[in-house]
């Protein structure tokens, strides 16, 4: 069902865990739907110096978390904000159609964590572009 890249990230998840002194965290999803993602950010000078995730969910959810965190590490918040679920799915070399929503969760949880950081630091929360109509779970 999953390709090798997805399986690799599922089985050997990068950045799994918690950042005790995170300065931005975001959680999306709910247990009823079967997937929850929580992102921990360590931001220094507008750059994500460390990122961790915790995920309750299927293989695609774990792999998406793993890949997405890899992709934003070392990036500025603005760069990280621009990471789309499509880019995550592409970096994973594709997800089964019914699992695309997992990559959406990854994007959303990163957005939530970034805005958490921004609000905590007296900045305005960025607005979602509203282009996630495809998010169905």
């Amino acid at each position: 069902m999953y390709n090798e890249k997805v399986m690799d990230h599922f089985e050997h998840p990068r950045n799994q865990g918690v950042i005790e002194d995170a300065n931005g965290t975001g959680e999306v999803g709910n247990a009823q739907c079967g997937d929850i993602m929580k992102i921990y950010l360590k931001v220094e000078d507008d750059v994500i110096t460390d990122v961790r995730f915790q995920t309750f969910g299927c293989g695609a959810a774990v792999a998406s978390s793993s890949m997405a965190t890899e992709m934003i590490k070392g990036k500025t918040l603005a760069e990280a904000w621009d990471l789309s679920n499509k880019a995550v799915a592409e970096a994973l070399e594709g997800l089964p159609p019914q699992k695309l929503h997992c990559s959406v969760l990854a994007e959303e949880s990163i957005h939530a964590a970034i805005n958490d950081y921004r609000v905590k630091h007296g900045l305005e929360a960025w607005e979602e572009k509203g282009g996630h109509a495809e998010h169905q779970h």
Partner: protein, 394 residues
């Protein structure tokens, strides 16, 4: 890919390997005695006799007469035929069907379609063990009721329904009674007479017979429209050139399964209980289905804080084949309607694991699986944001 050498197949409720002797018995009817049983010439006689012999085997397995057995292409066809066949034949008598909330989709989706055709269906609730109450069945009967369909044993949680009691109720009220015995046949005793069953579905590949084979028992005097219209095969009730090799294989597999049933059930029940005990030792793990009245080979548990598909993927890496009721593993992205009907909360229903044992399962397999599952559960709990601190590693 499985990175272990070991392969432990614990998904016998999904399908089983065709027994080698069954496959061997089938091949001659593919390449040699390939005649169409309806034909007149000698070549057809071998096929006809083989089909007749299989009919006797299937009938004997459920206490029926051979002429009451109709071969189909599987459990799904048998279920569809029973429901649609009776519904259309009895339309003028009434339009109400009674079933349960925990039936296989071959029943529940058929009922949903019949509702679109103007029939009215009662889906009876079940208790926390997935058990339906025969009194509830009786209470649901109206003058419009034409059919009651209650499965003999549940495919997900293994719960064995009070079929004989429901049969008594149905007979008392003169309502036809169908049971989906796809998971029960070859595992627990069945007697259509004693249980007052009018229609009963079987599927060959669930008891080490061939895929694409099934049967419907149709009791004396039961009228139903065909689902397959066409030729006069199966005494005019199920059209289509007979799948002779499949029928031969199914008959043989079922009669072997029934012959070995008592012995197997005893052995497998012990393994099942050992497996369940091992898994329930994992914290915040709960058994689904009835603690006693369950199929000898079924274990179904739910682990809090984690999701079933990930469990399966990691178990697969350890060579373990299993199943889950998680929405994430189903094509429809809907969580198991069976676990939901048993009252499992939405937020744990995704963490279920079904392990169904077979005749070849060993104690070593069970112990291997318990250890593997415990490891996998811990690993996923460590990853989950929901897991309370005291359940995390270190």
């Amino acid at each position: 890919m499985n990175t272990e050498k070991r392969l432990v197949y614990m998904d016998h409720a999904a399908t089983t390997a065709t027994r080698v002797e069954v496959a061997e018995a089938m091949v001659p009817y593919m390449t040699g005695h390939f005649g169409n049983p309806s034909s007149l010439y000698d070549l057809a006689k071998d096929s006809r006799e083989a089909v007749d012999a299989a009919r006797v085997q299937v009938a004997a397995a459920i206490g029926a007469a051979p002429k009451e057995i109709y071969f189909t292409s599987g459990g799904t066809e048998s279920d569809n035929w029973a429901l649609k066949g009776v519904a259309f034949a009895k339309r003028s008598k009434g339009n109400h069907i009674i079933t349960t909330a925990v039936e296989h989709h071959a029943i529940s989706h058929t009922c949903a379609w019949l509702e679109k055709q103007g029939f009215s269906v009662t889906y009876l609730p079940v208790d926390r063990y997935g058990m339906v109450d025969p009194e509830a069945v009786e209470a649901a009967i109206t003058p419009e009721t034409i059919l009651i369909s209650v499965m003999m044993a549940n495919n997900e949680i293994g719960t064995i329904m009070p079929i004989a009691e429901i049969g008594t109720v149905a007979r008392k009220h003169g309502v036809l009674f169908h049971t989906d015995a796809v998971q029960a046949a070859g595992h627990i005793p069945i007697d259509v007479q004693e249980m007052n069953i009018d229609l009963l579905s079987l599927s060959g590949h669930k008891f080490h017979g061939p895929k694409g084979t099934g049967a419907l028992y149709v009791g004396p005097g039961v009228r139903l429209d065909p689902l397959m219209h066409g030729g006069a095969q199966e005494r005019g009730r199920r059209a289509g050139t007979e799948n002779v090799p499949g029928i031969v294989g199914m008959g043989m597999a079922l009669s072997l399964a029934v012959a070995e049933m008592v012995e197997n059930a005893e052995r497998v029940t012990a393994l099942r209980d050992r497996l369940a005990a091992g898994l329930l030792a994992i914290p915040e793990t709960y058994l689904n289905g009835h603690p006693q009245k369950r199929l000898p080979n079924n274990v179904n548990v739910v682990f809090a804080y984690i999701e079933g598909e990930s469990i399966l993927l990691l178990l697969n890496r350890k060579g373990i084949a299993a199943s889950t009721g998680s929405a994430c593993s189903s094509a429809s992205l809907e969580a198991s309607h069976v676990l939901m009907a048993c009252g499992l909360p939405h937020d744990v229903v995704h963490g279920s694991l079904r392990l169904t044992l077979g005749e070849e399962t060993t104690e070593a397999d069970v112990d291997y699986v318990v250890a593997a599952v415990a490891g996998v559960v811990q690993r996923l709990r460590d990853m989950s944001p929901l897991t309370p601190t005291e359940l995390r590693s270190k």
